[in-house]
Symmetry: C2
Subunit: 509 residues, 2 copies
Amino acid sequence: MRPALALRPSAVSRYVPCPRRVCHRCLSQQPNRSIAELLRWKPAQRVDHVVVNGFVRSVRSMKAHNFVSLGDGSSISPLQALVQTDQADGLTVGAAVRLTGSWVSSPGASQSHELHVSKVEVLGPSDAKTFPIQKKYQTPEYLRTMPHLRPRTPFNAVLLRLRSEVISSLTQFFAARSFTQTHPPIITSSDCEGAGEVFTVTPASDVAGPADKDCAQDSFFRSRKYLTVSTQLHLEALAQAVGNVWALSPVFRAEKSDTSRHLSEFYMLEAEMSFVDELGPVMGLAEDMLRSLATNLSGSSTFQDLLSRSRQSGSDLLPADEVARRWEGLMRHDWPRITYSDAIALLQQKSKLFEHKPVWGAGLQSEHEKYLAQHVGGGEKPVFVTHYPRDIKAFYMRASQTASPGGAGTSNPTVDCFDLLVPEFCEIAGGSMREHRLENLLDAMKQQGILASSSDGSGLDWYTDLRRWGCPPHGGFGLGFDRLLSYLSGVQTIRDVVSFPRWLGRCDC
Amino acid sequence: MRPALALRPSAVSRYVPCPRRVCHRCLSQQPNRSIAELLRWKPAQRVDHVVVNGFVRSVRSMKAHNFVSLGDGSSISPLQALVQTDQADGLTVGAAVRLTGSWVSSPGASQSHELHVSKVEVLGPSDAKTFPIQKKYQTPEYLRTMPHLRPRTPFNAVLLRLRSEVISSLTQFFAARSFTQTHPPIITSSDCEGAGEVFTVTPASDVAGPADKDCAQDSFFRSRKYLTVSTQLHLEALAQAVGNVWALSPVFRAEKSDTSRHLSEFYMLEAEMSFVDELGPVMGLAEDMLRSLATNLSGSSTFQDLLSRSRQSGSDLLPADEVARRWEGLMRHDWPRITYSDAIALLQQKSKLFEHKPVWGAGLQSEHEKYLAQHVGGGEKPVFVTHYPRDIKAFYMRASQTASPGGAGTSNPTVDCFDLLVPEFCEIAGGSMREHRLENLLDAMKQQGILASSSDGSGLDWYTDLRRWGCPPHGGFGLGFDRLLSYLSGVQTIRDVVSFPRWLGRCDC
């Protein structure tokens, strides 16, 4: 047997990304130099043989030459290229081109350098007359009719980069804390959490069969299966294996609500911590995660691009200063925590302000949440509201051991849970301790009419099983990932931060 | 308006993970000290007040005390704890416990230190008699009947950590190269790539309706929708926005094959590069990615755990030295590339070895791929086989400009594609240049009977649209992520590297 020492790590050259992103050596080695990299590169001397790929955003014709704006999605600012008129054939709006030339300091004020082009290659021509993406303002509703082309607008490219950088930052955050990233299943056996608003899954070959098959669509998996509405229950099983786990997974709701905040398919970030006794560390994790995310990305060029676009924006985008304030709020420490009962008491003092009277036992209305975010968090910091009434929360949440401080005693039981509210936007995440004691869980399921077992495998026997053999106290939270991107970008409609949004009646491409 | 400078990155403290993972300060600050961290910690002096959480793996009773093995999934080796007999109540196999004690150097040889326990807290009791997970060897088939408990076996925890570290390493790899990570849609409009083996998606409320609704299940999205079989087509749209993109996404196949290599739901890693003219850089990316992955992770404790378990394993796991050889192969440079035509010629010289005669125009059989991996890659390096016949490949692949060197001329056209073969395991990834010219694409679709447009939105109009306005040459590849984990871990059946596997007839939990 070969000894494991054959793989001494010191003997192997490690992959190290180049720390210099815009040095000569990097640029000469990269076949695709991004426009963002070129724009940061300000050599004192003229540099020849510079090659750049991109899409023509606009062309301004002069007598002997044309000014061509080139974009490649890496930067919201285009690159300015000077092309002799006799070389400008095919440089139409939208065209995919490769330009070779000299990188020289620019006499104009808008850009320190520009490309003096010596060679033009049109790699993908474009009929500018029919190209649906225009440089002028186009409404979000119009752009939504062509999700396959919409990413080509400069601001949509910023949103794509934001998504990517947020994923990368979160992956680092959780890896540094030894959380295990997992892939919980998408097709699941239970629909208990979806309250009927779930999708079922059927092989097309069954659907296409004769009509008298009586929709016999449950043959592939033997019984009816669903698209997951949350990965939490499966994450709990995995947390009992490796302690702390997280997932960034698509989830699905067949909701018939047609609002700016709902999609039928969206990504959810869920984390689960084992061996935590109280809600505090779970809220701490959510707070640390969002703070480190905002802190890390606020130094990125993507963040600057986000703000620069907001400034020029039409009415569909939040102004730049409000986006900046959102990020600053996330970067602050010590986010306030208030119990639901205290929150109700506070709201009742101001009940004249509200259309819906605040009542203990009812859910918080959007106007209530806005008031709390404004007055408890100072309109700046996010706010945790904790210990909601048991009757309005999910069966798996752990009953609070003592009546909530401001609550109405044991006759009004609460659960160890939280909602995280952010200014203006309201709920962005929610979490709880999970009931880890078998008897208590079975009681709660009985009360809510949820099957603990069934003959066709659709019951939650497996979930209650987790409590039979060594289930430590544990808790976690879920965060709507696309909603987070909506909050961070100031894009008001979640349909505009998702590349190919799916909702009631809409599933293009 | 608030200036963007309000967010100067230098003014904000950045999140920096502690570089010292096992120092005193870290350990005292962490509420959950992992067993892996404790086992690496070898203080010269006895340290008191050490707290550790975990699950009891076994108990060995002596007269005055018990030796308790504790696991928490962070390490395949358990922690050894010494507990006085009068404190050992509830320390049954499977129980979730918190032990407090002194960390002292151990007289035994198996472990440098052990925990002398002063306080025992049983956080989640376990009825050891009924606990289905046993320390003795249990067959993969048996463990597969309880996916919710299977992760608790020490080796399954290693597989969960491997998955997590592979995701994290790939995320860093692509971020360092400025690839944008994307979330292509899961519910899609087209089933063209699935060859009928797709799942359809229906709201449960429609399915539950009266039978005479004639399976009217297409009401939610207006027409029939499917679970994606590949994210490639959507990735191409996104690549035209930001250049180079990738995704790690669940995909679905309603295949009725019941093999050790197929699942109905699995993760696929797909990458797409814009502005590449030839296949070379695409293969280079796949090679770099796998090499950097193996190189980075070969220094991890997870890799050592993988090898140590393999050595003790039953027949269901590849021996440790063969796993090590797989990793070493991935770390080597300059993987050989051979055209399909040359490969066929090579195989024909040895045709007596094969059950299936190698014929130009037919797909490579598994026995052929094994021979190529053994003799072209020396049984060590992965091998790229390129330029397959057009008739056995997908419609979107770009036609080769010249006949393949060893091919049969223009009457036997090939496409610019590759399969990546690894020793023993065979195909692990596949990629191609995509046809970026509108007319050529439409011709290929016509030949294969694929609708370029349809009234119900199920056609590929949107995909052909991508070629109308500035489509540069581009290419990419896809890699079965769970198959990769199967290869890296030496777990022979893909059902055993996925926590909750779904295949024909099986979808537990």
